[in-house]
Amino acid sequence: MNALILTLLIPLLSSVAMAVMGQKKIAGSLNIIVSLAQFIATLFMTSVVFKQGHIGASNGQFYIDSFNVYLIALTALVGLTTSLFSRPYMEQERQNGRLSTNRMRLYHTSYQGFLFTMQLALSTNNLGILWVALEGATLATVLLVSLYRTPEAIEAAWKYFIICGVGIAQALFGTVLIYFAAAQVIPDPEQALLIRVLVEHAAGLHPIIMTIAFVFLLVGYGTKVGLVPMHTWLPDAHSEGPTPMSAVLSGLLLNVALYALVRVKILTDGALANNLSGHSPHLAGYLMMGFGLLSFTVAGYMLHRQRDIKRLFSYSSIEHMGLMTFAFGLGVPLATFGALLHMTVHSLTKSSIFITVGHASHIAQTQKIDNIRGLIATQPSVGWGLLIGTAAIAGFPPFGVFTSEFLLLSATMQTHPWLTIPLLVGLAVAFAGLFRHLHPMVYGEKPAEQTGVQANMWPVIIQLALVLWLGLSIPDFLAQWFDQATQLITGSGLL
């Protein structure tokens, strides 16, 4: 429990400290140190959860179980590696004259503030606080999107703010409806939004209200997940903001929004299970499958027409989030297990890709795919990093993404065989979309005056090694957590 408090307090206090102390030279290093401290705190907490199974705190306001514990550790890990990358990267941006020192202060404040909202959203047991934290994540990152103050960045940030703001407002309405339904069965109003309490009473929740609530929550949190057609903010925000922010948005925010969605899906499934309303008990699952498959397909085709490298990989994020949403929607243990694994490996792979992309765009001094050429010839570490990262995200064996996609395809084959066709076509289309752009970027003719940049590839190496490891063998404790989380979500385990 102390570790939990530390996990939340470290980023919160450092965010305030960064804002108060102003821009000092050491802010970048300090950012690394506090991220490291936070990561150590989460490791400590993870070990407690490993021994006890779960942690509850503050009268049930916080609850760590097997579903969120690994996401918390993952969030802290990606936060740490991205902070390692961001120190030299942002310093370079400042020297290039794209940023003033004052904006560096804003950057560091927002970075830690964002990590705080992520950890709060994951560790809270209160649906209302979950909402507050996700809205807080938008607020913490919106000024990061517009950090460069170019007209494009301002436009992207405004779009991000309005679309996510409206989206998340729908989610609040859904939360109010859940509270409304819960007030009929749970006598103590202070307890009526606690996820644990709601799960216990799920069967008693009014099915029609829960259905309406779920639709609002799906649209609301789905906006943050980046589901088509509410995805339009995502490529803009990723391409116009600073690259470390793209890494944490893709690696963390989308995951946490999906986590929120799955939490409410469990409740909706519980309420619809005894089929009093005339709705199919899998209504929530079908809706998620539909939105997921649509996002997956549309994003796969959109990959082909991208001209900006960061937009390219943000569409790839939409594609993968669609795949995960689809998998959670299927609702069978195998698919859910695959989706949980996919959340982990996608987050690790995608944030390492964005780190490499940041270096690549510094080498070529542009984000335009047409002008990025010959990366391997210029700087082998960056070129190979991009190539391997993209191979991993496209689902090549032996990386973890292959394993999770394989599990997912097998599950689809068992439950809805005809849906494997669009899935396989979509994977092939996405694969082609990524590699037609990637090939000239890494192998193409090197422009004459192009030189390498100082790049710290350790974050990329560590994360891709983890993805490789997860592809070859999932450690026992992680498999146990995935299995327990699968039990939590679908009612039966896999192992």
């Binding site: 809205e135 992207a156 409206v166 407002a169 509270y179 939004l193």
Partner: protein
């Protein structure tokens, strides 16, 4: 039938009707100052409704919510917007409503749609809740309609905040408010959002020379 309701419930119903009316007023207004005033009135009425519910139910924490709403939605945000448009020199600006008839027709249909959606909830709920839920949903959707139909940043912000009013009203009328921690969190988020919107006005003005967001088309997904 309505006259058989207790006095407070009648008052709440009247106030919700007036809140819905201010939503329509927001949609139709073209002077930016009037938009802000209409929004302030809406906030004040939501706060008054909250206070009434607090008095009726005896839930004292609702007085805090009512006070927060009054301070934020009826005073602080309108004051902030007023100050900003004065500093940006937009005080006399007209935000013309495009296709006013069309907008009003859509708005009316949205209200009818909300009553249609709220219908099934009636079966097990008290008399006024069905009305207030439908009205709060209407206020939310009308706020979204305002966001879509306007192309000036200030009006969009008002639409967004009015949407937030609808949410708050939904929480008050359906469930006598949310737990206190959640309400404080939401109020904090709204406060930060208002300040960030203010910062954005300056950024947009500096980059685009006006607050007309219809100039935002650099990032469309079209082939160049």
């Amino acid at each position: 039938m309505l006259t058989q309701l207790p006095f407070y419930q009648q008052a709440i119903l009247t106030l919700s009707a007036m809140i819905l009316f201010t939503s329509f007023a927001l949609l139709a207004q073209s002077r930016v100052v009037s938009i802000i005033h209409a929004f302030a009135w809406q906030g004040a009425m939501v706060a008054l409704t909250t206070a009434l519910v607090a008095y009726d139910t005896g839930l004292h924490h609702l007085y805090i919510s009512a006070f927060l709403t009054l301070a934020l939605k009826a005073l602080f945000i309108p004051w902030l917007l007023h100050r900003l448009i004065r500093r940006l020199g937009l005080i006399r600006e007209l935000h013309t409503v495009e296709h006013p008839v069309m907008t009003m027709m859509i708005a009316t249909s949205l209200v009818i749609f909300c009553y249609y959606v709220a219908q099934p909830i009636e079966q097990f709920s008290e008399t006024i809740t069905r009305n207030t839920i439908a009205i709060s949903m209407s206020v939310i959707l009308l706020g979204m309609l305002m966001l879509i139909s306007r192309n000036k940043a200030v009006s969009q912000v008002v639409g967004f905040m009015s949407l937030e009013n609808g949410l708050f009203f939904a929480a008050i009328s359906a469930t006598n408010g949310m737990p206190m921690v959640v309400e404080l969190g939401i109020a904090f988020d709204v406060l930060i959002a208002a300040v960030i919107f203010g910062v954005f006005f300056f950024h947009i003005r500096d980059s685009f020379d006006s607050l007309d967001v219809s100039q935002f088309h650099r990032l469309s997904e079209s082939d160049e």
